[in-house]
């Protein structure tokens, strides 16, 4: 297979951290690549805290979410879900529901469910209806003229079950002889949203694996031997809980099935995945399926594809001949739309007395309910150079709702354990935790270089030099300080494409099918385009969230800005150069001397030639100029590359510091301060970047202290499936948070942008747990830090 490589040229690009050290390095880049951008200080729009372009729509209520889409004749849908945790469905009687006033369609799911693991041998379980494997699993859907009618009719669907024994907890399901969630081995191909599990792994009972990390070059050396021979060993067991996503806009779709086309309004992180899955499931050409997503009210990993709710919505729309609105209610959202799996991790670290890491040995089990994907990330393999590393990561199936990718899937759980064990190692060695990281975080990649600087900045901001010995306070309330490091990969969506168009009146527009889940896709897109034309960001039309536009990336894996902005800049650059070429004769100048600046265009050094951008377009006699560019590969290529998914050679770092108070009498923990120092390549918009880092830190704090799904083991019922029962950090729990963002130029693309959403969420829980040790002298190895878990840890 020989992919057509474009001809290349050698280009000198800046490499390093602005304000620290910048070198010029040579890169081989595609011949049509624009010249490299200078540091942000020399730019007009990129790197500036531009207001979010759709901010006014959001503060005035005009932003139209899928939740708000109202079409003529639109019906409202409700799902029928199981009231048992594990059962064969004997019969489904919809006759009463169909007779209910206002009901227009009923549909019963009769195919394997999406988002669930699938039996390798589907004949192992031949049945008319999918087997129920968790309490709240969707069975059918009803569409009616009002939501109330749909809700009432859904309750009239009669289901007869043949009950099977169930197992809802990780430990229970791991036991020999535990009730089997699946009657045979399973597969779960990864989807656009990530997740999934490596194919072909062994499965014994409910336990599938191990994943030995082959993908990341593991095993390496002899971890067990190196642990035995180490000067110092840290051997510890960690437990993390199930967390639910709780996007403020629940999973939502309005499906409009017509004779000749299907239009889907979707609250999604990836419009393309909705189109492709709908086309696949309903055997439609992709050209007949259009997906529109003006605004998505949060996703955090769980909003990919059409989902089972979408499968129902589309079927109902087809049956009723009318648009159907399917929005999960808050309970359904908690129970069945995804979660972060729990984990039970046994981690051993070995080190020399002078603080060199010699061994990492990990065994982990986690449960994503009826879905696979409960690994604990890749930090063990990639973060710290270490000659002896082995991992055995297992999925354990339970009768619980399926997991989904969730902001740094796996990595959040894995780093909670790894960074706490390193803190313990530092303590045992009598080395400052920052000094230990300086000794072991020595990899050649950009994330390691960034973290070195981030440790210094963060230490200064939090006042690390004033950090005391563990358990220094004599009273009941003890204060402590801790730090932990973050790591994420630089994920690129190779097919990312963007069109930039100039119209005769001077309008400039950019088009991509990428959506905005709240990160500011429109804004960063407009900024990179505006920079090329010397315009303001708000003078560029940024059109997103429609599969009729060129293919954009998913909002997941921290990949939108790093994937989209180089394509957008390249398209804008080519359009600007074509415009300059068309203007050149009129201005009697060389096109290379024509520049765009401050809303004007003219010949460099010839003030008399300057005119407004609009007049320039008119003078050039342009009807329309259009250029489309695709995301070129990273200049140094990828660590791993598939047609739809590539991982850069350099990762994304981040270091976080926490100062907390622990009340040792009540077990309550209060976070006083958090300092988050992060890198994201070139920050395109520091204001929006800061917002995302706040978000990551607050979700991390919330995960560390409060959030936990509770299932009743007897019934399998999710006991806290609403906002008043599932505690999430709110305004009163928000500490003082200080964010600092590096500007790091990696010399890998025409914008050098990378992501930040995930790394911002990775280190927080570990930083808080390490602060807990500093406060109390005790380790807390179980999340969340609720009073019960805290008091247990203090008594240990």
């Amino acid at each position: 297979m020989s992919a057509q490589k474009p001809p290349t040229k050698t280009q000198s690009v800046s490499y390093g951290i602005v304000g620290q050290s910048i070198d010029q390095v040579e890169r081989s880049v595609p011949e049509n690549e624009p010249p490299p951008l200078p540091a942000n200080a020399s730019l007009k729009v990129i790197g500036k805290p531009v207001d979010r372009l759709d901010a006014v729509q959001k503060v005035t209520g005009k932003a139209r979410f899928t939740f708000d889409v109202q079409l003529p004749g639109m019906l409202f849908a409700r799902r029928v879900v199981s009231s048992v945790a594990h059962a064969r469905v004997v019969s489904v009687d919809t006759s009463e529901a169909e007779k209910h006033p206002g009901v227009r369609a009923v549909h019963v799911l009769n195919q394997p469910l999406l988002q669930h693991a699938q039996l390798r041998d589907e004949k192992a379980e031949a049945a008319r209806y999918p087997t129920i494997r968790y309490f709240g699993q969707p069975i059918a859907g009803v569409a009616a003229e009002s939501q109330r009618a749909a809700d009432a009719a859904a309750r009239l669907v009669e289901i007869v079950y043949e009950a099977l024994p169930h197992a809802t907890t990780l430990e229970e399901a791991m036991q020999e002889g535990a009730p089997l969630v699946f009657p045979g081995p399973t597969e779960q191909p990864s989807t656009a949203g990530g997740g999934g599990a490596p194919p072909g792994l062994p499965q014994r009972g409910n336990v599938r694996g191990p994943d030995t990390g082959q993908m990341f070059g593991l095993p390496r050396g002899d971890a067990a031997g190196a642990v035995r021979g180490a000067d110092v060993v840290v051997d510890a067991e960690y437990r993390t809980q199930v967390q639910t996503h709780v996007p403020m806009e629940p999973h939502a779709m309005v499906a409009d099935w017509r004779e000749d086309s299907l239009t889907i309004y979707a609250s999604t992180q990836f419009t393309t995945s909705v189109r492709d899955e709908a086309a696949d499931m309903f055997e439609l050409p992709k050209s007949k399926v259009r997906v529109i997503s003006d605004f998505t009210g949060g996703g955090f990993g769980a909003k990919y594809g059409i989902g089972n709710f979408g499968l129902l919505a589309i079927n109902l729309s087809r049956k009723a001949g009318a648009p159907v609105r399917m929005v999960l209610d808050r309970r359904e959202e908690h129970v069945s739309s995804g979660n972060r799996p729990d984990s039970l991790q046994h981690l051993k670290l070995g080190a020399t007395r002078d603080g060199r890491l010699t061994a990492i040995e990990l065994e982990s089990h986690g449960s994503g309910g009826v879905a696979a994907g409960a690994g604990v990330g890749f930090a063990h393999a990639l973060m710290y150079p270490c000659a002896n590393v082995s991992q055995q990561q297992y999925d354990v199936f339970t009768n619980a709702g399926p997991c989904a990718a969730f902001r740094a899937p796996g990595q959040v759980q894995g780093i909670f354990a790894l960074e706490q064990s390193l803190d313990e190692l530092a303590h045992q060695l009598g080395i400052d935790p920052i000094e230990l990281r300086d000794r072991i975080d020595t990899g050649p990649t950009d994330d390691a270089r960034a973290r070195k600087v981030e440790r210094q900045i963060g230490a200064e901001k939090i006042g690390w030099s004033a950090r005391r010995a563990p358990n220094a306070d004599g009273g009941a309330v003890k204060r402590g300080m801790g730090m932990a490091q973050s790591q994420w990969v630089s994920v690129i969506h190779p097919p990312t494409s963007c069109e930039v168009r100039i119209t005769d009146d001077g309008s400039v527009e950019a088009f991509t099918s990428a959506q905005d889940v709240g990160t500011g896709t429109r804004t960063v897109l407009a900024q990179v385009v505006a920079e090329e034309f010397g315009l303001r960001a708000d003078e560029v039309g940024a059109h997103i969230g429609d599969t009729r536009y060129p293919s954009g990336p998913p909002s997941g894996g921290s990949r939108v800005t790093g994937s989209l902005t180089p394509a957008a800049r390249n398209a804008a650059y080519r359009a600007a150069r074509e415009l300059a070429g068309r203007l050149a004769p009129a201005l009697e100048a060389n096109a290379d001397d024509i520049v765009f600046e401050g809303g004007r265009v003219g010949v460099r050094g010839a003030p008399a030639t300057w005119m407004s951008f609009k007049d320039g377009v008119k003078k050039a006699g342009v009807t329309e100029i259009s250029h489309r560019a695709v995301r070129q590969d990273d200049y140094e290529g990828y660590m791993m590359s598939l047609p739809q998914f590539a991982v850069g050679r350099h990762g994304i770092g981040g270091v976080q510091f926490a100062e907390i108070d622990v009340d040792t009498e009540t077990g309550s923990v209060k976070v006083r301060r958090l300092v988050a120092v992060h890198d994201c390549g070139r920050p395109i918009n520091p204001k929006l970047t800061e917002s995302q880092i706040y978000g990551g830190v607050i979700q991390g704090l919330s995960y560390a202290l409060y959030e936990e799904r509770h299932l009743d083991p007897t019934s399998g019922i999710h006991l806290n499936a609403n906002i008043d029962q599932y505690k999430i950090a709110g305004s009163r729990e928000i500490p003082e948070i200080e964010v600092h963002i590096l500007e790091q130029l990696g010399g890998q693309s025409s914008t050098d942008a990378r992501g930040v959403a995930e790394p911002a969420n990775v280190a927080t829980a570990a930083a808080i747990a390490n602060a807990f040790f500093n406060a109390t002298g005790k380790r807390i190895r179980r999340l969340p830090l609720t009073p019960a878990n805290v008091l247990d840890a203090l008594r240990a």
């Binding site: 901010a55 006014v56 209520g61 009210g297 800061e690 978000g695």
Partner: protein, 183 residues
């Protein structure tokens, strides 16, 4: 009265329902009518009866405050308010904040301080913060935290909500001082 006991016109009888009847409300200063049965919440009527979709529903039980509106100037969870109970009251929704052409000081500050990410909780947040600064332009950080303590923002944009609201309050104080100076 028809056999279902529904009242085609709210003025005809003291008893409403169970079917839908015409409901008259005052929303954003305008008298409007919608069909609603007695079980309908104000949030439902605003969104599906009147097309005012700026008011969101995040939980349907008063636990997330995405549905916050003003009733006679006081914040209320519209998902926990029966539409019938809003009769005769001045209802203000996000669409009616400010004077239409210009943004309210809190809305401007939210834009400037990026006090939003996905934006789904934003209308509710804005309504509570705007009520706070109007009631108490001298509000402190603790006051802002208390005012939005019932609001859930899953994107975690609280720090900017705090900054924006305090900035808007300061702006209102300056405007008030200027007006005082001109008198």
């Amino acid at each position: 009265m028809n056999p279902q006991g529904s009242t085609p016109n709210e003025n005809d009888a003291a008893v409403s329902g169970p079917g839908a009847g015409i409901l008259t409300l005052v929303v954003n200063g305008r008298t409007v009518q919608a069909m609603a049965d007695p079980g309908a919440t104000l949030a439902e009527v605003l969104r599906y009866g009147l097309g005012l979709t700026g008011t969101k529903i995040g939980c349907d039980r008063g636990a997330c405050s995405a549905c916050t509106v003003w009733l006679d100037g006081e914040v209320a969870a519209s998902c926990m308010t029966l539409a019938l109970d809003a009769r005769g009251r001045q209802i203000t929704t996000i669409e009616g904040l400010g004077d239409g052409a210009t943004l309210h000081a809190v809305q401007r500050a939210f834009v400037e301080h990026d006090a939003m990410q996905c934006g789904f909780c934003t209308p509710g947040m804005v309504m509570s913060c705007a009520a706070l600064v109007q009631r108490n332009p001298a509000c402190t950080l603790d006051d802002v935290k208390a005012a939005v303590s019932g609001h859930l923002c899953r994107c975690g944009t609280y720090p900017n909500v705090f900054k924006a609201t305090l900035a808007a309050a300061a702006q209102l104080r300056r405007s008030a001082a200027d007006a005082e100076g001109r008198r």
